[in-house]
């Protein structure tokens, strides 16, 4: 356990060195929240509810979505860099699990993000934009749990993208395309309540709706009782599916590396 904590701690400290990074990061997130607030204010105009969704539900959706996504940032190019410069071979020699190490480092940067990105951004957003409180403290708790599950879904997706570096020259392209799908289909740019039916039909079969939208709906009380349970299971199912895919690619990739010698 100790080396993993060390990895997390190192990433955390590294982030502190770049002062501008974090100030700008918060600003970034706040600005984005504000953009969406303005857009939807214009779109709502004089109506108080559209399709049963109130304006404050929409703003809350954006604050939580953008806050979480800025916290959950993962460097998709990590593995590729190691494959390209050959240092991936060293990783196999180390007595730590490589996947675990990646996760530990990401967690280090997330804890940083939570303290220095999410909370300040939340604070600013509350003052200038106004956020709806969670329907109950239980909802808040379940929201947090669901958000963590959502993170693991996101993390698995990132891991799969990183695994392509064993076969593809340019992981950046795949990562960028992945990000487009995540951004559009997870509800962080258009709340999934307003997504056209046809598109929603497609999204249902993807993990994207389970990243942010489920926790946010729990928070807003848009989901009751059994539904919550079902959606938790859905999130866990996606984690499992993505984990398997990731593992298979990881094993195949290692084999390929050993055979080819990088």
């Amino acid at each position: 356990m100790k080396p993993y904590i060390e990895f997390a701690r190192k990433t955390f400290i590294n982030k502190m060195v770049y002062k501008f990074d974090y100030v700008v990061g918060i600003f970034n997130t706040c600005l984005q929240i504000f953009i969406f607030w303005c857009i939807y204010k214009a779109l709502y105009g004089t109506s108080s509810k559209i399709d049963g969704i109130s304006f404050s539900m929409v703003t809350t959706n954006f604050i939580l979505c953008l806050g979480l996504s800025s916290t959950f940032q993962i460097n998709d190019l990590f593995v590729q860099e190691k494959v390209n410069d050959g240092s991936i071979a060293n990783e196999f020699l180390r007595p730590v699990n490589f996947k675990g190490r990646i996760l530990a480092e990401n967690i280090g940067s997330i804890i940083f993000g939570l303290i220095f990105n999410f909370i300040p951004a939340l604070f600013v957003a509350i003052i200038f934009v106004g956020i709806q409180s969670p329907v109950s403290s239980l909802a808040l708790l379940l929201f947090s749990a669901s958000a963590i599950l959502g993170f693991f879904i996101l993390w698995q997706i990132s891991f799969i993208v990183q695994m392509t570096s064993f076969w593809v020259i340019n992981v950046w392209s795949i990562s960028t395309i992945k990000n487009v799908f995540v951004n559009v289909l997870s509800g962080s740019m258009l709340p999934l309540w307003f997504m056209p039916r046809a598109v929603m039909g497609f999204i249902k079969f993807t993990p994207f709706a389970s990243i942010y939208f489920i926790p946010i709906r729990i928070y807003l009380g848009d989901m009751q009782g059994n539904d919550i349970l079902i959606n938790f299971l859905r999130q866990m199912l996606w984690i499992a599916i993505l984990y398997i895919i990731g593992e298979v690619m990881w094993r195949r990739g290692q084999k390929k590396l050993i055979v080819q010698g990088g």
């Binding site: 400290i13 502190m16 060195v17 002062k19």
Partner: protein, 331 residues
């Protein structure tokens, strides 16, 4: 007295470095109240170099050598003092000045990584506006001298270090500069590679009178190519003169190792320190200014039965190290 090609007068340079703290709480504080310290990299250095000279700059890491070179090449402004090279002030008349100099960074190639060497050369021809005639002449001459025809069409990333170094040196010479600066030109090369480069550099100096300035850690580079040595440490110029002088002045210590036929007790000799080595060997350490070696030797050889002997004088490297450490005082 003819005017020197390179003149430095009273050059100084100080850097402001931010102080990094350790541990999370003080780092957080550092975000709001950054601390700085001032480092004097170069303190009042002056020297002159004439056309055709080959000068080596030597000094420990952080001594101020690369800062001085950067000021000479125009990359950095001095805080005070004057520089005049070839009639130009390097940092004031940049474009005209750099047309006449070449710079070789041993650790950073100026060639395009993915392209064949010849492509990089042609780019340089275009940048320096080299005439077709001069370009063809230089290219042919250097390619032949350095045996580059078998790799000149290969991408730089496929070259060995020795090949790349050769290509980088040619790249710096294509526009026939008057002065060339070398920063660690033989670093990482094997013995043969180093020798090739040194021969080529000497040849250039002898045939074309190109003035050359080296910064290096490799004393052999200096011994085999330069006639003049400038030692810089902690921003000060400690020594400026030729290699022969440095040996004569500071390399006066001698070691005479004698293997005797039998175990002997040597009576103390004035100004000579005697050390016992393995077995029947003894070491006699002395200054050749204080002790005449032929007297010492004839004394020992007549008194005792000697099986074998050797005399060593300190190499330049040792002398320099002693200068850095302050065990030799420069007068």
């Amino acid at each position: 007295m003819s005017k020197s090609l390179i003149e430095l007068n009273g050059i100084s340079k100080t850097f402001k470095i931010s102080k990094r703290s350790k541990g999370i709480p003080s780092m957080a504080l550092n975000l709001f109240h950054p601390k700085y310290e001032y480092k004097k990299a170069v303190k009042d250095i002056s020297f002159r170099i004439n056309e055709g000279e080959m000068v080596g700059f030597i000094g420990p890491n952080g001594a101020g050598k690369s800062t001085t070179i950067k000021m000479l090449s125009g990359i950095l402004y001095p805080d005070s003092g004057h520089i005049n090279i070839n009639g130009f002030v390097p940092y004031k008349q940049r474009k005209e000045y750099v047309s006449n100099i070449g710079v070789v960074f041993g650790q950073k190639s100026q060639l395009s990584w993915d392209l064949p060497v010849i492509d990089s050369f042609e780019l340089i021809k275009h940048i320096y506006r080299i005439s077709d005639k001069k370009y063809e002449e230089n290219l042919e001459k250097f390619t032949e001298l350095l045996n580059m025809s078998d790799f000149i069409n290969q991408p730089v990333r496929q070259l060995s270090l020795g090949q790349r170094m050769r290509a980088d040196i040619v790249a710096a010479l294509l526009h026939s500069p008057k002065i060339v600066f070398f920063d660690e030109p033989t670093i990482g090369l094997d013995v043969v590679g180093k020798e090739k480069i040194r021969d080529f550099i000497r040849y250039l100096n002898e045939t074309q009178g190109i003035t050359m300035i080296f910064t290096t850690h490799d004393m052999q580079d200096i011994e085999k190519t330069c006639n003049r040595l400038i030692i810089i440490d902690k921003g000060d110029k400690l020594y400026d003169g030729n290699l022969i002088d440095i040996r004569e002045k500071y390399g006066t210590s001698r070691q005479l190792d004698i293997q005797f036929e039998s175990n002997i007790n040597i009576s103390p000799i004035e100004h000579v320190k005697v050390e016992q080595l393995d077995g029947l060997k003894k070491r006699f350490i002395f200054e050749n200014t204080k002790v005449h070696i032929h007297e010492l030797m004839s004394d020992l050889l007549t008194k005792y039965k000697v099986k074998d002997l050797s005399i060593t004088e300190p190499d330049i490297e040792t002398i320099i190290r002693q200068i850095y450490e302050g065990s030799i005082d420069i007068v």
